[in-house]
């Protein structure tokens, strides 16, 4: 069948429109997949969002979907939609590197739970996206392979660590992607790339098959061009999984619940601690503009206080580094992954393989984490980190007694130049100042485009809610974007 729809039209279509065309058979999964692969071939040279493109596997999946559709079989909600996965999510038979030399040749023998779910829903996995090595970073410059560039300005970073996933979605190479978060790694790059990113309640999406960084913080989550795309991916990915002992047994909400809400009477908390020095003027203005819009729709704006906000970054890095040092002890040069060439003795296998296999930032975190857990320092650092976490969680519980959601910026600034922070770890860590608290408290939060600043760079609004409030966050994001045109604009790299 020759399609009446041109290539660029497929690429620009949002996920729901595309799904409708697939269901009505105006488009085949093969055509849509080929279009995505072609766009990657044409555009990704500039952006470097992908570590691995799995064209053959994608075409095979598309063929299966088209055959099933021709036979009239029931297909999942994402049937025929091309998506990308952050390369720390295991894919059976497809190299999964975590953007690290130490896993440069690692081919998983199983699919992550979310990959099984996406495949069962008919999604076509076209490739694996770049990240900061082991998801440790906020710019995707710490990838062992290459940095990813922001589609809105190729001299700038996409944010991180899920910068490959957000850049791929922003550049319209795929219609959706999965990223992962430990301290803001979906929301911050979503903000910098002008797309929607959702961090779910801890336990909402199974971590089985996600390469571990900070186990009490890690969550997989969706990236979409719009809230409705993120909602479709969220619904496809969530659900109980016996293979993850922290998986929540919560039902999957309907798509309607994820897209519709009445804003009248909704109480929106604005934390005074988030609008202090350090936030750029244009970000503050855009976020306050969004708050005014919600107010104009009948929502009530209430000032709230999250008094321990200023301790968030310190608390987060103590805990995340400690957990990283423990999780990354498994890379021993024996069972899988890289082994140094000249490792002639047993200890050399460990020392040389890890020293050559890990990048500088990963080594820094392993050592700082090891230090904070070591005898004599545990009480001074790790133990205090866990107690600070209690105080931060308590702040949110108190705030949610008064309000339905909290709104604030996702990032204090728009995308920064490549190289601007890469040699200054503390400056890089401070990029996460508005995002880490939701990870520490285990609660969901979404970032959505709410404006553009100087240089036509996107600005993100963050909406944070209590446990399991993902449908409300998505619906509130959907309401805003339906009345604005910040989503779905074409980035500079494509024009």
């Amino acid at each position: 069948m020759v399609s009446k729809i041109g290539v660029s039209e497929i690429r620009k279509m949002n996920m729901l429109e595309l799904s409708a065309k697939l269901i009505s058979k105006e488009l085949s999964a093969r055509e849509v997949t080929d279009d995505s692969l072609k766009s990657i071939e044409e555009t990704d040279g500039k952006i470097s969002a992908f570590i691995t493109v799995c064209a053959d596997e994608a075409r095979k999946q598309a063929k299966v979907i088209d055959e099933k559709r021709a036979r009239g079989e029931n297909l999942g909600a994402m049937a025929g939609i091309p998506v990308a996965l952050k390369d720390n999510i295991c894919t059976r038979g497809v190299r999964t590197t975590a953007a690290s030399k130490i896993l440069g040749n690692f081919v998983p023998t199983y699919d992550a739970f979310v990959v099984e779910r996406l495949k069962a829903n008919g999604a076509i996995i076209v490739g694996k996206t770049n990240l900061d090595e082991f998801a440790m970073g906020s710019s995707t410059e710490h990838s062992a392979f290459f940095p990813t560039r922001n589609p809105w300005d190729l001299s700038r970073v996409p944010g991180g660590s899920s910068g490959g996933s957000t850049a791929a979605v922003a550049a319209m190479l795929v219609h959706g992607a999965l990223g992962s978060e430990t301290g803001g790694s979906i929301r911050q790059p979503a903000s910098l790339c002008g797309v929607v990113g959702l961090k779910t309640t801890y336990g909402r999406i199974s971590r089985y098959g996600l390469i571990a960084f900070g186990s009490s913080l890690d969550q997989i989550g969706p990236v979409g061009r719009t809230a409705s795309c993120a909602a479709a991916m969220f619904r496809a990915a969530c659900g109980y999984d016996a293979s993850d002992s922290t998986s929540l047994n919560a039902s999957v909400p309907s798509i309607d619940v994820c897209l519709k809400t009445d804003l009248r009477g909704k109480k929106i908390g604005v934390p005074k601690e988030y609008f202090t020095e350090g936030i750029s003027r244009e970000v503050e203005d855009s976020v306050r503009g969004a708050l005014s819009w919600y107010e104009s729709q009948g929502a009530e704006i209430v000032e709230v206080s999250l008094p321990h906000t200023e301790y968030g970054i310190a608390c987060y890095y103590i805990i995340a580094m400690a957990e990283a040092s423990s999780n990354l002890a498994r890379y021993d040069g024996v069972h899988y992954g890289f082994r140094a060439q000249d490792a002639g003795k047993r200890d050399d296998v460990y020392f040389k393989s890890r020293t050559e296999g890990f990048g500088e930032e990963v080594k820094r975190r392993i050592m700082l984490g090891t230090f904070s857990l070591s005898a004599g320092y545990y009480d001074a650092y790790y133990s205090k980190g866990l107690k600070t976490r209690t105080l931060i969680k308590r702040d949110f519980s108190r705030a949610f007694e008064k309000v339905d959601v909290i709104m604030c910026p996702t990032s204090p600034f728009t995308a920064f130049e490549l190289g601007a922070k890469v040699d200054d770890p503390l400056a890089m860590y401070l990029c996460d100042v508005y995002t880490v608290s939701a990870n520490l408290a285990g609660i969901p939060a979404i970032s959505l485009p709410c404006g553009f600043g100087a240089g036509n760079l996107p600005i993100g609004l963050q909406i944070v809610g209590p446990e399991l409030s993902e449908p409300l966050l998505l619906a509130m994001a959907n309401a805003f974007e339906s009345d604005h045109d910040f989503c779905g604009r074409t980035p500079a790299a494509l024009t």
Binding site: Y202, Y311, A314, V349, R389
Partner: protein, 95 residues
Amino acid sequence: MELTQELLRKIATLSRLEIAEEDEPLIIEKFRQVLGYVEKVNQLDFTGVEPTVYAVDTKSVMREDSLREPLPRAEVLANAPSRDEAFFLVPKVLD
């Protein structure tokens, strides 16, 4: 807290990482910046505050024992840097 060269070397050994001697001053400087920052938590009063390891309530999950196929040995071993048909190979451990 004073991060000394000796302490850095101890941490590196515990982490099974090697550090070149000429890199030590810069590593120490960057570690001091980060530690200096995270020591901010010392300003807080933790009287009566319990630690939070997991933010969401978690319980031990019990399930019946059941037989399942293990991962295929050949595929698992294919990822090993050194192997034979059945084993992971490592340099001699005992002299």
